[in-house]
Symmetry: C2
Subunit: 151 residues, 2 copies
DNA sequence: CTCGTACCTGAACCGAGGTTGAGGTCAAGC
DNA sequence: GCTTGACCTCAACCTCGGTTCAGGTACGAG
C-alpha cells in the first residue's frame, strides 16, 4: 500500500496560481494550448503535478525573452508530462534558447549601430540604408526556427 | 506662380506603398493612428509629402527592434509633420532607441546566462531562481511572484 | 464618353495571448 | 444541513498590428 498521507501533494489550480504568480485564467489557457497538463478529480477539478511549477517557470522565463507560446510548446513537448525531467532534458531545452537569444542579441546590436550610423548620416533611404534593409531576415526565414528543436 | 512641373512631387498612397514596401492598408492604418499624415486632393485622395518615406523608414526600423507603435508615435510626434526634420531631430529620435535597445540587449544577456545557470542547476524555483525572479529593473512590484512579469 | 485602374470608407476578420462574466458544481467548516 | 469559497465551462471581450472585403468614387488613356 503506497503512502497516502504526504507522498506527492498535488496542487489545485489556486495553489499553482499563488505559487507561480500566474493567474488561474492563464493556467487554464495554457492547458487548453497543451503547454501544461492536469489530471481531474472525481469532481472534475484540476490537480497539477508539482513539476508543473517548473514547466510554468520555464514557460514564463521563455516568454519574457520573447518566445511565442507555439515555440515554447514545441520545446516543452519534449519533456515528460508528469514526471520530473532530468537535468539533461532541461539543459537541452535551454540550449535551444541560448542560440535564439544570441541571434536576437546580435540583431539588436546591429540595429543599434545602424540607428546611430544611418540616422547620423541622414539617409534612411529605402534603397540604400542598412537600417531599412537589414538582410537579417534571410537568416531567420526558411527552415529557421525549426532548427531549434533538432536533437 | 509656383513651379508646377517638378517641384515637390507628392506621393499617392500607391507610390508610397511601392517605394516603402509597406502595404497601403498598413499606411492607412498608420495614418489612423496618427503616425503619418497626408493632405487630401479635391477628390479626397491622399497625397504624401516625400519626407513621409523617412518617417516610415524610421517607423519600420523601430518596429523591427520591438518598439510598439504607441511609443514610436511619441517619438515621431516630436518631428515636424510636413517639412524635412533636421539631422539633429533624427539623431535625437534615434538616441531614444539607443538607450532602449541597450537595455533590451542587457536584459537578454542576463536571461541567456540565467537560462544556462539556472537550468544547469536544475532549480527553477519560484522562490529562489534568478531566471524566474529577475530583480532587473523595478525591484519591487506587488506580491513576490509578480516579478516574473517585469518587462 | 467609356474603360480600367487606383483610390475611398467602414466594417469584419485574423492570431497572439490572454481576461471577464454568467451560470453552475464541489468541498470543507460550523 | 447550510453556507462560503474555490472551482468548473463556455462564450464574449480585450489589445496590438494589421488584412480583407463590399460597395462606391476619381482620374487618366483612348
Amino acid at each position: 500500500m503506497p503512502d497516502s498521507s504526504s507522498a506527492a501533494p498535488e496542487l489545485t489550480i489556486g495553489e499553482l496560481s499563488r505559487r507561480s504568480g500566474v493567474p488561474a485564467s492563464a493556467l487554464r489557457f495554457y492547458e487548453r494550448q497543451g503547454l501544461i497538463h492536469s489530471r481531474r478529480t472525481s469532481g472534475n477539478q484540476r490537480r497539477y503535478h508539482r513539476t508543473t511549477l517548473r514547466r510554468i517557470a520555464f514557460l514564463r522565463a521563455s516568454q519574457s525573452v520573447g518566445m511565442p507560446l507555439s515555440v515554447i510548446g514545441e520545446v516543452l513537448g519534449f519533456l515528460p508530462e508528469d514526471t520530473a525531467p532530468t537535468r539533461e532534458m532541461w539543459a537541452t531545452a535551454s540550449e535551444c534558447w541560448t542560440k535564439e537569444i544570441n541571434a536576437r542579441i546580435a540583431k539588436m546590436e546591429r540595429m543599434r549601430d545602424r540607428f546611430t550610423e544611418c540616422i547620423g548620416c541622414g539617409c534612411l533611404s529605402f534603397d540604400v540604408c542598412a537600417l531599412v534593409n537589414p538582410d537579417d531576415e534571410l537568416a531567420s526565414r526558411g527552415p529557421g526556427p525549426r532548427r531549434l528543436l533538432q536533437p
